[in-house]
Structure formats: C-alpha cells, structure tokens
C-alpha cells in the first residue's frame, strides 16, 4: 500500500512553501539588483528563482494528486474541515485576505530597510499568501475530485432551496411544535391518500389536539387497510368460487353434450324430436362457451394471468388474426378492409394474450356486424402509440346508458338485449381486462350504429 500519511503531506507542503519563498526572494532580489546603480552579478539570484519556480510547481502537482486521498489504491475522497465551507465563501475570504496583505504591504516600497531586510519582508508576504492560497487551492482540488465543487456553494444552496420551496407548495418550514406536528400529520394523510397504507403515526410524539388528530388518522388508516385487504380477499374468493363452480358444472355438461350428440345419431323419425334435439344441442354448446368464458373472465379480472411480455410486431399479429377469421367474415358476407403500415410496429406485450384481445374484437365484429357491410381494420402510429382500431356497422342499435357512456365492456352486456344468439357477453370485458393487464389501453367509441373499438400500445420503434 502506498500510504499518503499526514507526515508526507506536511513535508510536501513545507517543501512547497520553501520553494515559493525561494522563487519570490529570487525574483525580488533580481529586480532589486536590476537597478543600474547597483550593477551586481545576479546569476545566483536568477538560479534561485528558476529552482524555486520549478520546485514549487513540482510540489504543487504532487500535492494536487494526493490531496484528499489516504493511499494510492484508495479512490475515496476524504474532505476536511475547510471543505465544509461553501466554495464561493472560501473564494471571498481568500480575495479579502489577499487584498488585506497587499493593502498592508503597500508601504513596503518606502521602507528604508537594508536589502536583507527587504528580502525577509518579501518572503514573509509570499509565505502568508501561499499558506492561504494552498488552503483554498487544495480544498478546490478535493471538492473537484469529489464532484461537489459547484453544488457545495452558497449560491447553489440558495437557488436549490428556493427552487425546492417553489416545487413543493410548502414554502415555509413550520417553526413551532404545533406547526411541526400538524405538518407531520398532513404528510401522513397525504401518504395514506396515495395508497401507502402502512403509514403509522406514533401517538406519543404528539401533544394535545395533535395527539387526538394522530389517533384519528391511525384509525382511518386501519379501517381503510382492512377494507382493502378484505376486498382483495373477496375478489380472490369470488374468482376461486367461479372457477370451482365452473369445474363442477363442466362434468354434468360433458354428459349433456355427449348424450345430445348420441341422440342426434339415433335417426329419430319424429320431426318435433329432431327440432328439440337441435335446440338442446345449441343451448348446451352455448352453456359450454359460457362456462369457459366465465372462468376466463374471472381469472383475468382477478389478475390471475401469467404474462410473457416480449417485443412483438403488432402488424404481423393483425395479419395473423386476419388469416384466422377471413372465412368467418366471408360466411356472413362481410369484407375486411385492412389499412396497416408497411413496416413492422414493435410493441411490448404478451403475443398470445394480445391475440386473445384482438380475437375477441374480430369475433365481436363477425357476430354483430350487419351482413354485406365492410369491417375496417386499421393500425396507425400516433404520438408514439400504436393504435389498432376495428370499425363495423352493428346490425342492431348499440346500447347506451343514461349518461350516454357505453357500458359494453361491463360483463354480460351485449349489443342485443335479447340473449338468443351465440356469445356470452364476456368477450369485450375479457379483451379490455387483458389489454389493461399488459399496460395497453382499450376503448369503445360507439357512434350511432358504428361500433369502434381501439387497442393502443406504446411503440418501441417504428422502422
């Protein structure tokens, strides 16, 4: 370990000062001898000047490199007492001192001293100035190494605290105990309002009215925290209940589906019987779809879905989805009109889940669009977001509630009041929950008979 002990530093400082005195005395002497009346040999003095010059800069360079460090291997910067003073204050002190020294030394010229006496005076002034200069200079060096040269200054601190005061509306720090307590309560209430339900006030720290207030705040927090955990538990229980009930429904349903199918193969002559079987078949299929959607919707809305978020191409996904659906659209005489960017549009999502969301919108269009109309599918990049939209003309008027806000994404709400056709009314709810889970946004904008659904995600790159 290459240690930089205080002795080494002290020695370097003393050496530096010696060289400074040598340089100044040499210079002063040379100047003094330059007087034509004296005509002395100044070579010795000049040598002294050069030696002092070289020496003082060499030692200064060494001091610069070791200042603030304890060893060559140690990269930590140790700040001393002087460094605690703001750098701009240091500068002011330094220049005041320099001014004072010069002010006091202004009479030096007129002093009737011998040459040796003048040299001592010059050396003393040089020594004094150098001490102060070193203190300031090395402090600046340490602070630069520590990267706090500019931030540790009075001006910066004032500007900073002023800005902070402007930022937080609390421009004044409370001075009284009551004020401080009230302030603490205010902060706790704000934290609770933002959802930090583990915020707790120590009632012993408050006095009088403040204690009553703190106790009340704690009560509110406890109540709220209980209510929230109750709700989470209830959501879970509800999801579990739905899943379990659905499993129990599926077993008898399997038999119903199978035996209805077997009945169909029995070649019944009776036309009524055939009709009844057809109805049974349709309804049992519908029940099957409903139970599956129900499990799906409850699982997604309780957040119980594992996401595999990857970078995927939204354009590719729409082409893929289009390929899955074109015959279902053709079967109802619907034409898909797609308008997509030429290049890929990369978003971060779980491809399978995003497909399920988009699939639900396509299914919705395939079911509820008016026959022989066009379904418009578009993907546009707007303000860094990939906006996917699907528009179709609904065959029945779209429901709106009293506010005019559409509630189609609510579970079990379908475009038709009578629930006779296929569909469980869960499709849009599932699509919305899935999109939101992946940090995308889902919107329905029905306009008269025009049904518009959009899914948008932040774009990673578009090239």
């Amino acid at each position: 370990m290459n240690q930089f002990s205080n002795e080494i530093k002290g020695a370097a400082i003393v050496l530096h000062q010696m060289f400074v005195i040598m340089m100044v005395c040499g210079l002063y002497g040379t100047g003094y001898m330059a007087n034509p009346q004296l005509m002395q040999d100044t070579r010795g003095l000049r040598l002294l000047t050069v030696l002092g010059f070289v020496g003082c800069f060499a030692t200064l360079a060494y001091l610069t490199s070791i200042s603030g460090r304890k060893s060559a291997e140690d990269t930590t910067i140790y700040l001393g007492f002087v460094d605690k003073i703001y750098s701009d204050v240091q500068l002011v002190i330094f220049f005041t001192f320099v001014y004072l020294v010069i002010y006091m030394g202004r009479g030096l010229k007129t002093l009737d001293f011998a040459f040796s006496g003048l040299l001592v005076a010059a050396g003393t002034v040089a020594y004094l100035l150098d001490v102060v200069f070193l203190i300031l200079y090395l402090s600046i060096v340490r602070r630069s190494k520590d990267n706090t040269l500019l931030t540790h200054s009075l001006v910066y601190s004032i500007v900073h605290s002023f800005r902070e005061a402007m930022d937080s509306k609390r421009s004044l720090r409370p001075r009284t105990r009551k004020g401080r307590e009230l302030y603490a309560i205010q902060r706790a209430v704000e934290a609770i309002a933002e959802g930090a339900l583990d915020t707790c006030l120590e009632e012993e720290d408050f006095h009088g009215q403040g204690r009553e207030l703190a106790r009340a705040v704690n009560h509110i927090r406890e109540g709220l925290s209980e209510a929230v955990s109750d709700r989470i538990r209830n959501e879970r229980m509800k999801a579990d209940l739905i899943t379990n009930v659905s499993h129990d429904i599926k077993t008898p349903l399997t038999s119903i589906v199978n035996y209805v199918d077997l009945l169909k193969r029995e070649n019944l002559e009776n036309e009524n019987a055939q009709n009844y079987i057809r109805i049974l078949d349709e309804k049992s299929q519908r029940l099957k779809q409903l139970t599956e959607d129900l499990v799906e919707a409850s699982r997604i809305s309780s957040g119980n879905v594992k996401l595999d978020i990857q970078k995927i191409d939204f354009v590719e996904l729409i082409y893929q989805t289009g390929g899955e659906f074109n015959e279902r659209f053709e079967a109802r005489d619907l034409t898909i009109v797609t308008k997509l960017p030429n290049g890929p549009v990369i978003v971060e999502a779980d491809g399978r889940q995003l497909y399920r969301a988009v699939e639900n919108l396509y299914t919705n269009a395939a079911k509820y669009a008016l026959e022989r109309t066009r379904v418009h599918v578009e993907l546009e990049v707007e303000d860094g977001r990939a906006v996917f939209s699907i528009k179709n003309i609904s065959k029945t008027p779209l429901p709106t509630n009293l506010d005019g806000e559409n509630d189609l994404t609510e579970r079990f709400v379908r475009g038709e009041a009578s629930r006779t056709t296929e569909g469980s009314g869960l499709g849009l709810s599932i699509a919305k929950s899935l999109t939101n889970l992946m940090n995308g946004s889902f919107m329905l904008k029905p306009d008269g008979d025009l049904f518009v659904a959009t899914i948008s995600f932040e774009v990673l790159s578009n090239n």
Binding site: L253, I312, E316, G351
Partner: protein, 229 residues
C-alpha cells in the same frame, strides 16, 4: 385394440364407450385410479383415457404410477383448463390432454392418432428426403405428407410452406419471410394470404386447429414447427 376408460362419472364413461365401440374398439371401464391401475396390470390395454379429479387415486397420480411399468399412450381428461394443469399432466407422462366438456369426435380422433403413432411410428422410413416432427412426416421425394400414418392432401403452396418450416424446425418465420421464400417476390403490402394458407394447413394436419401440436403460431412474430414435438 382395447381402450381403458377411467372416470368417476359413470355416464361419461359409458358415452365414451359408445363412441369407441362404434369405431371398432374394445372398452374396459374403471371408476377410480386404483381400479384403472388394477386393470392395467391384469389385462392387455392399448390406450388409457383417465380423468383427473377422482376419488381414491386421482388421474395425475395414477398416470405417474402407470408410467413406471407401461408405455402405452395415456390421454388425460380434465375439467381444468389452465396451462399449469396441462403442463403437469404432460409432465407426469401423459401423451395428450383433453379438456371437459370435450367434443366426442375429437376425443376419438385423438385416440386413433395416439394409437397410430404408437404402433406405426417405428416403421417410418427414414432417408434424406424424409422430414418428421412427432407424428408429422413429409416424404419430399413422393411429395407425401402423413400425420400419424394417415395421408393428408395439401395444395402445392401449402406443401411448400409446410416444407419450408419443416426444413427449419424451431425457427420462427414471419409472414413476409414466408412470402419471399415461397413466392420469390419482395413482400410489399402483403395481406392475409399467408395467414390463410397457414390456417388451412393447420386445419388439415391438426386434430384441433385452435390448439396446434405441430404448426405453432407465435403471435406477433410468425409461425414455426416445434423443434421436438
């Protein structure tokens, strides 16, 4: 061929029995995991269909036990639809997983497919022009595609797409890559064409095109043939 059907719901077992007998299979019935294992030991069984949630010994444990002594195809039947349940079932050694309520015809198709695979797979001719992925085999010389030994008729474009994916198993091809490879044209303003062809291929080679075993969809990326299906 004897199929062992095991479910604690008698009516489900009987319905499956009717379908299997119609297709010329012989059926043995069991109503819990222990009975199933007993029959597996005592009789010559070619394939087992087993429910998960059953009294005494559930289907997962029974499958795990059965796998210690037998290599016959096992199809798990379950009301649970979650991926984790499927993975668990396949991990303990089942060959296929069918969720309730199932389409009886699909179940029969899966039974046949598993049996064909089990009995004929060893006799698949191998050569430089033969590509296979599980039960899917393409003989490029004869331009013949078979799934579990049964021939599938593909159009030339479908065949070329499937061949491209087969030759590069595990690699995901995007729609424009497939377009450029098959049509030898730059893919400008591609449309649903490729996706539609892919779906047609899936409908021909998969039992359930929505849950493909061979030609997988990687949503938002492209299509691939699983490297080890």
């Amino acid at each position: 061929m004897t199929v062992l059907v095991c479910d604690d719901d008698k009516e489900i077992v009987e319905a499956i029995e009717i379908y299997l007998i119609q297709e010329g299979f012989e059926v043995e019935k069991a109503y819990n995991g222990e009975q199933a294992l007993q029959k597996l030991r005592d009789l010559k069984i070619d394939l087992m269909i087993i429910d998960v949630m059953m009294p005494k010994l559930d289907g997962i444990r029974a499958t795990f036990q059965a796998r210690k002594t037998s290599s016959i195809p096992i199809i798990i039947l379950s009301a649970k639809t979650e991926d984790t349940d499927k993975i668990l079932g396949l991990n303990v050694g089942a060959d296929d997983y069918v969720t309730k309520p199932f389409n009886p015809l699909e179940l029969v198709a899966r039974v046949k497919s598993q049996l064909r695979r089990y009995t004929t797979l060893s006799s698949v001719p191998t050569g430089e022009t033969v590509y296979e992925a599980g039960g899917l085999v393409i003989n490029d010389e004869l331009k013949k595609v078979t799934v579990d030994g049964e021939e599938v008729k593909l159009t030339p474009i479908e065949y070329n797409i499937l061949m491209l994916l087969m030759k590069n198993k595990g690699k995901v091809y995007s729609i424009s890559q497939i377009y450029e490879e098959i049509w030898n044209e730059e893919a400008i303003g591609v449309d649903n064409t490729v996706a539609v062809h892919i779906r047609h291929i899936r409908e021909k080679i998969e039992i359930n095109p929505k849950e493909p075993r061979y030609l997988k969809v990687v949503w938002g990326v492209g299509y691939k043939i699983e490297a080890d299906s």
